[in-house]
Symmetry: C2
Subunit: 109 residues, 2 copies
Amino acid sequence: MSTIEMTPEVLELVAKRFRALGEPARLLILSTLRDGEHTVSELVEVTGLGQANVSKHLRLLHDLRFVERRKEGLYMLYRLADEDVFTLCDVMCGRLEQEAEWGRVVLGR
Amino acid sequence: MSTIEMTPEVLELVAKRFRALGEPARLLILSTLRDGEHTVSELVEVTGLGQANVSKHLRLLHDLRFVERRKEGLYMLYRLADEDVFTLCDVMCGRLEQEAEWGRVVLGR
DNA sequence: GGACTAAATAACCACATGGTCATATAGTTG
DNA sequence: CAACTATATGACCATGTGGTTATTTAGTCC
């Protein structure tokens, strides 16, 4: 795995980042951010999640650098930090498609 | 994200798979399997985890097709299903390295 | 069959965390 | 400064799940 030595500490750091993506609500927020910057209120409206809830998810995603943000007046604007999330999701989706071919999972289509 | 439509159901399927990697114990098992097939007992010994614990992690990883297995006499031999796990981990590790450069995380080296 | 071994499962506890409600904080506008 | 708005935070509850112990199941060897 990369050049990093897989000590228990590193394992925990990596795991924590996977866990961050292991939540539908956060994936939904991230996929919403794919089309550009959004305020928290917009994310609340689009996702249908509660405001406090979205705020907490964004804090986590920001702590782990999945998103970046800037303040503009009263608003806080969030955006994706990079494209890694979608690289990762594409791999997972590739797995799903493969499983679908095997008839193990049903993708809605 | 890929060609799959991101319905709530798909989001949950993807999230579940990220969650599977969001556990140091499972990452440890997977990284142990990188050097080839291992029995459950071997994995127990190498990882230092309990037998029931390893068995449960392996069941999850097998359900999600991260690992495959075959029976040989009394033993059950597990192996990686493919290289996806390491593609995924490499991306995450890349992020860690980048964060390390920013002085946000300390990698033990 | 009976004794033994490897792995899986069940029952259980403890802890982490997602969601919500209420409140605090930061910033704007009058 | 007071009223208002957007976001963050704290407290709390409910649920999910990782770990352990004990037991069951599957297979081997005598």
